[in-house]
Subunit: 336 residues, 2 copies
C-alpha cells in the first residue's frame, strides 16, 4: 500500500498537522522538525494523494485550456508549455477544442461557471465583450488577439509584431505588399501592417488587403487566387499565420510566380513545418513559454482572495528571417 500522511507522521514522531505544514511550506516550522519530517517522507517514498487534497481544499485540481484546434502546431506547443507551467501549481490541464466558433467558446465559458474546474485559459477567436458580461467567478484568462477590459489577458503585441514583419519586407526592397488576415481595424496584425506602410508614407489599398474567414492553407490559397486573377502587381505578402502563408505560396507558384524571387512571403506563428516548406518560411515567433507562464500566474492571482484587479500581460516575440523573404527583390513582378 502507498504510504499515507499518517504513516509519515508516525515515523517522524509528529502529528499529521506538522507533516502537512512541512509539505505545504508553511512558515513557523522549526528546522529540526522539518528535517525529521522530510527524512520520513524520503524513507517512505511518500507522495500526497491528489484526490484527497483536492477534496479537502475544495479544489478540483484541473484547469481547462480551450484552443481552436490542437492540430495546429502553434496551439499544440502552447498547450505543452501550459501543461508544464500548470504542473508547478499542481494543476492538470484539460484541453478542449473550439474550432474558433463562438458557440463553442460560449459553451466553455458556461462550463467554467458550473465550477468543476479551478480555472480556464481560453484562446479566443469569436467571443465578444458582451459575452463576458456575467463572467463566471472561476478564474479566467484570455489568450489571443482580442483583449477585453473586464478579463485578464495574455498576448503579444500583435500590431507591433506585424509592423516588424512588414518593415522587414519593405527594408528588403519590396514595394507592393499584400496583407492576408482578418478584418481591417479588427485584426491587430492587419493594423500593424498598415502602420508599417504608413511609416513609409504608403497606404494599404483595399485591393491589397485580403480578408480571410478561415485559418487553413486553403483559405489563404483561395484568397490569393482571387487577388492574382484581378491582375494587380505584387512583390510581397504578409500573412497573419504560417498556415495561411503556405496556401498563399501554393497559389503564387501555381500562377507562375517564384518565391521569393518574384514575391516575398512572410508568415506568423513559427510552426515546425516552416522549415520543411519550399522556400522555408520567414515568420514571427511569439514566446509561447512566456505566454503560458503568464497565464498560470494570472490564474493563481485570481485564486487568491482580495479585490479583483484585471491585468493584461504582454509576452515577447521576435522575427525569424528565412528563405521566403530573401532579399532578391525587384519591384512588382509579373508571371513568368
Amino acid at each position: 500500500m502507498r504510504p499515507r500522511l499518517a504513516d509519515v507522521a508516525a515515523r517522524a514522531g509528529v502529528s499529521m498537522k506538522t507533516v502537512s505544514n512541512v509539505i505545504n511550506d508553511f512558515p513557523h516550522v522549526s528546522e529540526s522538525t522539518r528535517s525529521k519530517v522530510t527524512t520520513a517522507i524520503e524513507e517512505l517514498g511518500y507522495r500526497p494523494n491528489v484526490s484527497a487534497r483536492n477534496l479537502a481544499r475544495g479544489r478540483t485540481g484541473v484547469i481547462v485550456l480551450g484552443v481552436p484546434r490542437l492540430d495546429m502546431p502553434y496551439f499544440a506547443s502552447l498547450a505543452m508549455q501550459l501543461i508544464t507551467a500548470a504542473e508547478a501549481a499542481s494543476w492538470w490541464v484539460q484541453i478542449r477544442q473550439t474550432r474558433g466558433e463562438r458557440a463553442n467558446e460560449l459553451r466553455l465559458l458556461e462550463e467554467a461557471r458550473d465550477s468543476r474546474i479551478d480555472g480556464m485559459v481560453l484562446s479566443v477567436v469569436a467571443l465578444r465583450e458582451a459575452d463576458l458580461a456575467d463572467r463566471p467567478s472561476t478564474p479566467l484568462v484570455l489568450l489571443g488577439e482580442h483583449r477585453f477590459a473586464s478579463v485578464d489577458h495574455v498576448g503579444i503585441d500583435n500590431a507591433g509584431a506585424a509592423r516588424l514583419a512588414v518593415r522587414h519586407l519593405l527594408d528588403t526592397g519590396r514595394r507592393h505588399v499584400v496583407v492576408v488576415g482578418g478584418r481591417r481595424g479588427a485584426d491587430q496584425r492587419v493594423v500593424g501592417a498598415e502602420s508599417a506602410l504608413a511609416e513609409r508614407g504608403e497606404t494599404l489599398g483595399p485591393a491589397m488587403h485580403l480578408a480571410v474567414e478561415g485559418v487553413t492553407g486553403q483559405h489563404g490559397e483561395q484568397a490569393m487566387d482571387a487577388f492574382l486573377a484581378a491582375g494587380h502587381a505584387v512583390d510581397a505578402v504578409f500573412c497573419a499565420t504560417d498556415w495561411l502563408a503556405m496556401g498563399v505560396i501554393r497559389s503564387l507558384r501555381l500562377h507562375g510566380y517564384r518565391v521569393p524571387d518574384d514575391v516575398a512571403v512572410m508568415g506568423f506563428d513559427d510552426i515546425p513545418y516552416d522549415l520543411a516548406a519550399l522556400p522555408t518560411l520567414s515568420t514571427i515567433a511569439p514566446d509561447r513559454e512566456q505566454i503560458a507562464r503568464l497565464a498560470v500566474e494570472s490564474l493563481l492571482r485570481q485564486e487568491r482572495p482580495g479585490p479583483p484587479e484585471v491585468r493584461h500581460a504582454v509576452a515577447d516575440h521576435r522575427i525569424v528571417v528565412r528563405e521566403s523573404t530573401a532579399a532578391t527583390a525587384p519591384g512588382g513582378a509579373t508571371p513568368t
Copy 2:
C-alpha cells in the same frame, strides 16, 4: 453552494446509498425509486464531485498519454480523440512528451509504476521489449509500430498500409521507388513497401532505402539530398511520414525534379498541412478515432479484475490520393 449527494437523497426521500446506486447504474433499483432520484438530481442540478468519488474509489481520475511531440499534428489529433474517448470513462487525459527518446519513455513507465494515475497510453518509439520486463501493475497500452507480446497494443497494419501505398505508386506506372523510413526489418512501413515490390518481382535495393534517424522534414530532405547526389534514377518516393515527405519534396524540387511529373511522392499520417503543400500530398490516413477508442477500452479492460489477457488491436486505415502521386509518370526521370 453546489448540491451534494446528501441533498439529493434528502429531496428524493431516500438514502445516499440509493442515490449512489442510481448514479452508478446499479441494477436492482425499482423504477419508481429511480425516477424519484433522477427528478431530484435534475431539480437540484446535481453533479458528482469528482475528487470525492476518486478518493472513495481509490482512483485518481487521470490517465497519461505519452507522445513524441504534440506539435506533430498526427499526435495532436490523436490526443484530441483520446481526450474524447477518455471522457466517457470519466478520465482526464494528461499529455506528456517523450521526443521519441528511450530515456523519456522509460521515465513515463516509471511514473506509471508509482501509480498516481489510473492508466497510461504510450506512443512508443524507442522502447524495447526488455524495458517492459517488470511492467507496472497500472493499466498500460502501447501505440505505434512496436508491438510486444507482454503488453496491450493498438495500432494499424503498418505493413499493409505501406503495401497499399507502394502498390499505388507502381499501379500509376512508377518503376524506381525510393523508400524513406526507419531501419530495414524493424520499420513495418519499410517492410510493407518491400513486400509490395516483391509482389511485382522487384526488390528494394540497398541504395533505394533511405534510413532516417529523425522525424522532421529536414531529416527527409538531407536523406534525399544524399541519394540524389549519388545520381540514381528515381520516379517515386514512399515516405514513412508526411513530415519526412515534405522535406523529400523540398530536396527533389531544389534538385530540379518536378513533383509529381518526374517523381511521385507518397506520405503517411494525413496531417492537415498536406493540403497546403505544393503539390498536395497523397498519404495513408490511419483511423485515429478508432485507435483512441480501442486504447481506452484496453485500459478499462485491464482495470477490471480477472486473469490478465494481453490484446493487440488493429485499427483501420485508408489511402488518400492527391496531387503528389498524379499518374503522369514516365520512368526514371533525370533533372531538368
